[in-house]
Subunit: 228 residues, 4 copies
Amino acid sequence: MASIASDDWEGSPLPSMVNPALLRDTPATERGARRRSELVAAARKVFERSGYLDARLTDITKEAKCSTGSFYTYFKNKEEVFAAVLEVAQQDMLHPGMDRVPDSDDPYAVLEASNRAYLEAYRRNAKLMALLEQVANVDPTFRELRRRRGEAFIHRNARGIADLQKRGYADPDLDPMLASRALSSMVSRVAFSLFARSGSGREPVDFEQVVFTVTRIWANGLRFPGHA
Amino acid sequence: MASIASDDWEGSPLPSMVNPALLRDTPATERGARRRSELVAAARKVFERSGYLDARLTDITKEAKCSTGSFYTYFKNKEEVFAAVLEVAQQDMLHPGMDRVPDSDDPYAVLEASNRAYLEAYRRNAKLMALLEQVANVDPTFRELRRRRGEAFIHRNARGIADLQKRGYADPDLDPMLASRALSSMVSRVAFSLFARSGSGREPVDFEQVVFTVTRIWANGLRFPGHA
Amino acid sequence: MASIASDDWEGSPLPSMVNPALLRDTPATERGARRRSELVAAARKVFERSGYLDARLTDITKEAKCSTGSFYTYFKNKEEVFAAVLEVAQQDMLHPGMDRVPDSDDPYAVLEASNRAYLEAYRRNAKLMALLEQVANVDPTFRELRRRRGEAFIHRNARGIADLQKRGYADPDLDPMLASRALSSMVSRVAFSLFARSGSGREPVDFEQVVFTVTRIWANGLRFPGHA
Amino acid sequence: MASIASDDWEGSPLPSMVNPALLRDTPATERGARRRSELVAAARKVFERSGYLDARLTDITKEAKCSTGSFYTYFKNKEEVFAAVLEVAQQDMLHPGMDRVPDSDDPYAVLEASNRAYLEAYRRNAKLMALLEQVANVDPTFRELRRRRGEAFIHRNARGIADLQKRGYADPDLDPMLASRALSSMVSRVAFSLFARSGSGREPVDFEQVVFTVTRIWANGLRFPGHA
DNA sequence: GATGAATGAGGATTCATTCAT
DNA sequence: CATGAATGAATCCTCATTCAT
């Protein structure tokens, strides 16, 4: 039970996070590769600054100091650059500290480490996650992407829960799938509301306490044994 | 502890769900009132069909069988009709079955009734909720509206949790505010993912089981006593 | 046998020459109708001046002294204005002098009158015909339009030829359909090459001689009797 | 009277069908020659597939498996490749069976053989002919090319007709030039409408019957003697 | 000679909002 | 109050051609 959030895609088991149909061939020359990177970086900057909808293609090219045409050498449209931005971000979101998770027998410890890793990654990429949320609510392609990712997590966590139930470590009355959906949603949503939202007057939260809280509720919720 | 979800606005304590600044005076004549209603109904239909962004004002006037100009007699812009649509929907979202909630001493029963009422209302207005989600991610006004509503719920539920803790009915190690945020998020997000998303291949869920699951996890999560 | 040309649409039996799908509703107000007419007139002028491909929508609106947006109030795109231009032109192309055709028993006289009427109409609308030729070679919609018109004529003339054959007035060895195609093509193509082409160094032709020639060849070709 | 169609260029008396100004020097190396051929072949394929206007230069280079830059080594622009394509096609259009035409005294036999040869060549190169038609209606250079060719044919055939008239074999009332224009147009246009148009629901025609029909009408039209 | 990345002018189209009738 | 025509700023995208490598 190493991943814990739904509606998200951290720890994706797939080689590429985004629909490969949205990605085209790698540039042939090195100059091309460099230019492409510049565009992706510029796009991320612009997206994070202005949001997906308000980002104009010319903003991106201006930021990348290149012509409009060059943009179209590498991407078909805004959707496609955004996919590329996500693709790059995936490197960072990919269980970066998962190795630190003790493969111990203590389900609580595993859960906590897992949650911490997830929340850290989320916080690091908060703006991008907010962006994804925005885009998913606007572009069917990314809505579907988000949905599929979420379901994958829910299924994975559901298997973990079923396993715990079998071993007598979790409330047997709960439907694993539904419980997984509820708990996974909880984590991802807490992350979103605490990190992703550009807080108007949001007071900073104690990160460790967030980890503790979601982990504790998760454990309690399933009735992990031995946590008086 | 009668309300349970965050990021949402069911059970709003405020007289009007939406920023009053967005609402203008009631039309003088009765014909005016009727025309306004027709426009709001048309707007809701169009919004639900096409989404907020893709809805054109002319779609709405066409649906309402009136002229473009008339629209501006009653609303300043898209934002304002959307506020009016929400305003109307609030009638239905407002704890419609809250009366049925037994004001018993059993926190579990109260919680379950509360969750059921929330989820029922959510399901009834699923399309509109999805819409609000979409708009909130696009229009700062509604983003702020959603945020404030959510925080209000979280605060209310947090008070309930603190109270239970005081009475020895809930895990004293949890921070009431954070726990509330987590659990409230869980419910609203489960509702969103099950009801609001136009599921491509979503299999229908057993509504009662959803109620049971979120309630059970909530109770477990807080360690309600006496639920073997 | 009153019509004689193929690949063309003079004397169309249909109420509207152009695909009705390309035409939208009539403007509601009179001002609208006027504006629409102005745009159609402007479009015709621009098309004849610059050709279909080189005509920019802004040229048309500039010529009509109205804004870009107004264009789109009445037409969806260039294709649609062009259809409207054709629609208007049809009034003039429609057997304008057909009444003068003596309904005599003399097939030759009928044929000659028919050819004269056709060629006159063609000459009057020469620029537009050249335009249609150009557009048909570029836009599938109009290619199909031209084809259907042409075939209609060929069929009609084929019936006339078959009738003459039955009455012993025409070479019985000829296949009516193929003969019709050949002769109809001849007339329309002669008209095109003499009138429609913006002649660089074209010397003017004697119109009556053209009428005589195509009629004579047509009659000879079918072996009308009695024309020593 | 060996050639019979106008608006076309079969049987060209000129060494090169296209304006020599459009053709540049032969490549020096053999590799260069091969590359050029590949480009021409690719261009023809692309033009026939997409039409002249929709053909992008990159489509051609992609088809030829070479770089954009290489294209410009051999051609100045689209116009120039198209000229090269025509140049190559000319080999095939050149009266390939003209030798088989019996140089008999029977004008009808000569005419029939000539028509057959023309129609065969047209059918073989149908797509290219449709293309030329398209380009001629768009590009002044090729419009002029087509016109000049057509006029050359008309003149040649007019001389033939005048000769027949002198020998008492043809209707003396006809103006040779106009009659030639009409009859030549007939043949080329029949060929175009039967072979060049990608027929939506075009039923296949009996080729020999086409030859017979146009020949018979031509002969009748001029009043060849002895064809009861 | 070959390559393919870079350029950027140019045109179509949308739709919220105004205002004359 | 109702109507619906008029407006035009604002962007996206194409693709022939050039030129550095």
